[in-house]
Amino acid sequence: MNRDIFLEITENFRIASKTMKMVLHGDTRLITAPGQFVNLKLEGKYLRRPISVGDYDSSESGSLTLFYDIVGEGTAKMSKMRPGEKIQILMGLGNGFDTHMDCKKPALIGGGIGCAPMLALAKHLNVEGKKPVAFLGFNTRKDVVLFEELTKLGVETIISTVDGTEGVKGFVTDAYNSYCTQHPDEIDYFYACGPMPMLKALSDTMKIDGELSLDERMACGFGICMCCSVRTKDGARRICKDGPIFRKEDLIWK
C-alpha cells in the first residue's frame, strides 16, 4: 500500500493568534492511533514538515485534521493553501498513544500546539469508557485552542495561561498540581505533549505513570536518518519511528 498519498484540503483557517486548523479528505487508513503524525511535502521546501495528527477517522474516504502553529516558512506556506488544493502526505508515522492502559481517569496534558493530538486521544479514551481530564496550557488568552472541541466531547477541560488572561495563571503543570490538590488520588495516568521543557518538568515531578509525545527537528520522519534520536533506558531511540510517544520511565533526560 502506497504510504505517500495525496489528500485534498477541505478547510484551512485560523483558530487562534498563531494556530491554524486544516482538514483534509482522502484515504486515512494508515493512521491507526492518536498521537501519530504525518509528513507533508510542500512546494519549494526540500524537507517535509512533520505535523501531529489532531483528529482523524480511519477510512478509505476519511478525514484528517491538523492543528498547526505558523512558526516558519513551511507552516506559513501551509497557511496560505486553499480548499481544493492537494498535499502529498506520508501517512501514519510513529507509534501513537497507548489508549488501552489500565486507568480510569487519565490526564491529557498539552502545552501550546502540543494540545493538538489530545482531541483524537480524548475520543479514543471516551470510547473505552475512561474519563479523561484535559489540562491545556498556553502563553495567553489569544493562543487558546481546543477548549470547545474537548468540552463538547464531555471532557473536563482546564485552561491555564502564563499571563493569567484565561483560566489558571501559570504553567500547565501548575494547573495540574492545583487540580490534584483539590481532587487527590483521582488522576491515575497521564498523556502529555508539548515543548521539551514542559515534558522534562512532567517527567521529573509526576508520581503516576504516563507517556509523553516528543518533538525534535526531523529529516526523514520514518526512521532511517537518526536525526531525531533520544536517549532511553534501552539505548538511543528514534522519535519518528520508535516514538514519538515514550513511557515516562523509559526516557533519560540529560
Binding site: L47, R217, F222, C225, C228
Partner: protein
C-alpha cells in the same frame, strides 16, 4: 531506435561484485537496511550501504542534528550506532533477513587501530560483500584532522586494513579537500579496490531569530541536489585519473542523474538525501532507469563512461 524493456541491461560490476542494478542507498540514509519493508521490497536494490559503524557504541551529536537548505540539507548525526559487536550480533541478521544480496558495511574510526579492528570483525560476516571505509572522521591521534584530508593518513589506514580483510575495500572520500584526485590516487596506490565519491560537504546555517547556528554541533554535512554538480565533477576527475571503480554519490535524485553520473565515470551510484524526503526514491529511480535509457538509446550501463 526501437527497444524492448527486456533488452535493457541494468547490471553493473564493482570489480568481482556484480550488482543487478547500480542503485545503492548511501550510508546513513537507509539505517541498517531493514525497516523499509513497509514501503517496498528492498531486494530490488543493487545493494545497501549500511549505517556507519564504529568500534564502540555512539549516541552521536546533540540535537538538533538537521538544518534545511534550499536544495538539500545539513546533517550532523555524529555516527550514531550501537558499535560493531551489536551491529554483528543484532543488526546484520535483521538486514540479511530482508535483503538477500551482498550488503555494504560502512566503517568509521577515530584511530587506525579502530578501523583495523572493525574491518577485521566485519570481514568475517557472510552477508557483507564489500567494505566501505569512511575516512571523513577526525583522527584523534593526528590532531583531529580528518583522515581523508591527508594522502599519508588515507594510505596508512588502507594499508593496515587491507592486511586483515579478504573482501573488497572501497574508500569513501571527503570532498572537503584541495585536490581530491591526489587523495584518490593515494588510496589506489595503497591498495583500495574502489572509491566512493563524495561524502557530504561541510556547511552551516544560522537561525535569524536566535542568531545561533541551527545545528547544535554548529557545522554539518551538506547533501542533496545542490551538491550534484560538485560530486559529478569529482567523480569525473577521479574516474579518469584512477583505474579502480568509482561509486558516484552526491545529490542524485533521479534516473537521469544516475545516467549523468555514470556517463561521468561512476560504475554504480549511491543515493542519500533523496531517500530522506521520499522513502520510495530508490524504487522510483530503478523503475525509471530503463525508461530514461530507452529514450537515450542506452542498453547497457557498463559502457557509459566518457
Amino acid at each position: 531506435m526501437e527497444m524492448k524493456n527486456g533488452e535493457i541491461d541494468l547490471s553493473v560490476d564493482l570489480g568481482s561484485l556484480k550488482l543487478d542494478n547500480p542503485i545503492i542507498p548511501a550510508s546513513g540514509c537507509f539505517g541498517f537496511g531493514y525497516g523499509m519493508e513497509d514501503y517496498y521490497d528492498v531486494n530490488i536494490l543493487g545493494s545497501i550501504s549500511l549505517k556507519g559503524t564504529t568500534l564502540e557504541p555512539r549516541f552521536g551529536n546533540p540535537l538538533p542534528r538537521v538544518a534545511e537548505c534550499e536544495a538539500g540539507l545539513i546533517n550532523s548525526v555524529g555516527l550514531q550506532n550501537p558499535g560493531i559487536h551489536k551491529v554483528i550480533e543484532e543488526e546484520l541478521p535483521k538486514a540479511a533477513k530482508v535483503f538477500k544480496k551482498p550488503l555494504i558495511a560502512n566503517i568509521s574510526g577515530f584511530s587506525i587501530e579502530e578501523y583495523v579492528e572493525c574491518c577485521r570483525l566485519i570481514d568475517t560476516q557472510e552477508c557483507i560483500g564489500l567494505i566501505e571505509l569512511n575516512v571523513s572522521c577526525p583522527n584523534v591521534h593526528g590532531g583531529g584532522m580528518s583522515f581523508g584530508t591527508s594522502r599519508e593518513d588515507v594510505a596508512k589506514v588502507i594499508k593496515e586494513v587491507k592486511r586483515v580483510i579478504t573482501k573488497p575495500l572501497y574508500v569513501k572520500l571527503t570532498p572537503n579537500v584541495t585536490d581530491i584526485v591526489s587523495i584518490g590516487l593515494a588510496a589506489q596506490e595503497a591498495g583500495a579496490d574502489g572509491l566512493v565519491a563524495i561524502n557530504t560537504m561541510l556547511g552551516m546555517r544560522i537561525d535569524l531569530k536566535t542568531r545561533r547556528p541551527v545545528i547544535a554541533n554548529i557545522m554539518g554535512g551538506f547533501s542533496g541536489p545542490a551538491i550534484f554538480p560538485v560530486a559529478l565533477r569529482m567523480v569525473y576527475q577521479l574516474s579518469h585519473a584512477c583505474s579502480i571503480p568509482v561509486i558516484g554519490c552526491g545529490g542524485i535524485s533521479s534516473a537521469k542523474d544516475v545516467l549523468e553520473m555514470m556517463i561521468g565515470g561512476a560504475s554504480a551510484v549511491e543515493i542519500g538525501a533523496a531517500n530522506l524526503i521520499n522513502p520510495y526514491a530508490c524504487k522510483e529511480i530503478i523503475e525509471n532507469l530503463p525508461v530514461e535509457m530507452e529514450k537515450l538509446g542506452i542498453t547497457n550501463l557498463k559502457e557509459l563512461k566518457i
